[in-house]
Amino acid sequence: MSLPLLEISDLKVNYHSDDGLIEALRGVSLTVKAGEVVGIVGESGCGKSTLVSALNALLAPNAEIAGGTVALNGRDILRRSAAEQRALRGAEIAMVFQDSMTAFSPVLSIGAQLVDFQHNMPDANHREKLARAGEMLARVGIGDPAQCLRRYPHQLSGGMRQRAAMAAALLMSPQVLVADEPTTALDVTMEAQVLHLLRSLREEINGAILVVTHHLGVIGELCDRVYVMYAGQVVEDATVDALYHAPRHPYTRALINCDPAHLEHRSSNLPTIPGRPPSLVNPPKGCAFAPRCTLADANCHANPPPRVRISPTQTVLCHKVAI
């Protein structure tokens, strides 16, 4: 079997804050193989963004890696030198951010920025780089690439900018494309188009796509496998079909039930998950979801849940899952 392209094992990240140590990631493990589209889903504060920052070796100054590795092609990213980490970004791991307006500099044209992103390209002159940028814009479905190259970010619509951001991310043929909430800022129609584009890109790039979102619809449309995060842990991972049709963790079930798009019949009383995620300053000893879980008993509150393997492609972090 081939080596996973990206392998995160038991990653622990803490933030130092005025309130004490925030345990943002509490032993996250995740693997991504070449050619896969993997989704990471969870609500605000579950650690999605910290995970993305760790992947890019872009953790905030007050963050501390308390353990674990992030290996790309078998080599740890976190323990490389700053220069090596810098060379990695864009070339091996590229990002598409949620807000494409702030992802581009407002004072440079799209063309100038797409050329700059190729600064690592050996023996290519400016004209070749500009031509490549144009080709990439055409590939992401921009009708008039020559004109787009001359435009400034504010002159493009949100959908166009997000396409340009994807072109920028793909310029250096990265092995892993990380899309952080790629459609949250877009309309339904633009969202559908960007999802369509991402789906067609997966066939063209020989790497993997990691989609980070809180939108279950986006995951459902796009991903092969999904990791569900809660309070800094992966609580369930499964193939996308199993996740939506046979979810095992109570949190996953609750999350799916909350999505208004999931309800067949009109209901004016929408399901919610009562309670709040726990504070990650001194996180609970037992299951982090126990206070909000309908199945929880004393054992759930007292002891950390085991990771139960349901099938070769599905694991659940829960006391209550009987094999």
Binding site: D187, G217, E221, L255
Partner: protein, 335 residues
Amino acid sequence: MSALFEIHDLTVDVPLESGFMGMFKMAQPKLNILAGISLHIGAGETLGIVGESGSGKTTLALAMLGLAATSGGDMHFDGAPLGNRASFIALRQKTAMMFQDPVASLSPRMSVGALLYEPFIIHGKRVANRRAKVTALLEQVGLPPEITSRFPHELSGGQARRVCVARALALNPKLVVADEPTAGLDVSVQGEVLNLMGALKAELGLSVLIISHNLAMLRHVTDRVAVLYLGRLVEVGATDAVFTNPRHPYTASLIAAEPQPDPRKRRHDLALKGEIPSLFLRPKGCEFHTRCPHAQPMCQTTAPELRTLGEGQVRCHFAETLKLNKRSEHYGMEN
């Protein structure tokens, strides 16, 4: 009919910067945003307004509250005509607006308590026991009294929304206008905010206008929906009817474009291609013909009128004969 808010043939234009031509005192060029908008909101009703960015949803809400200048048409609130400044000031005591970004709509320098009391000061209302009033408002939206001394940046997204709801309810309004009330919220919190609004609506007999492009949410919380495209109403009808049997191709496309939280319902074709045209280059004929999968030659030349069809209204030449997707047609099984 007991409509609380009535809009008749509303038009909104914005003057363009005249630039070079302005030097010659030419007629000031105008950009038309909304035209021919006729809508009503019944007492106790929830109306949803849906459309893509740039369709004029927010402008319509602003115009209704007198925050954007109108250039045609008339509006009535509770039977009284709206037009001059005084009428809108009176209106704003009985209506409340919840803006899109809750944190940005709360002054960062004011505590929650001060923010909740502000509507009373603005409208010169005396309150006997200020602290009790603030606590009561917080309780109404399910927030603890301790939150009174907090500042907006110390609130979570859901709490900030609740403070906005409490502020909107401070003066016992009859109508609440909510612009994207759930944008940026997690799904579980989104449900809480909507349920809260629904419960308060029933309890206080409010009318609500919700502006959103989140169709899944609108389907559950609205009684009627109005679909806007490039500043024109293209379809108005009861929510159930519009969602199960859309009559306008644009409505059908919007519904089909929604990502499905079920991999077995993945779609292979795009529901709606292209982008909403620029307001400066408004298409001739039917404004939707440039993106409409069912466009006929007639659509390029003749603009359809908004007409009554069954219970609802639709702006399409072929609304009777079109076989629009019943949602499932756009989906196919993967593999």
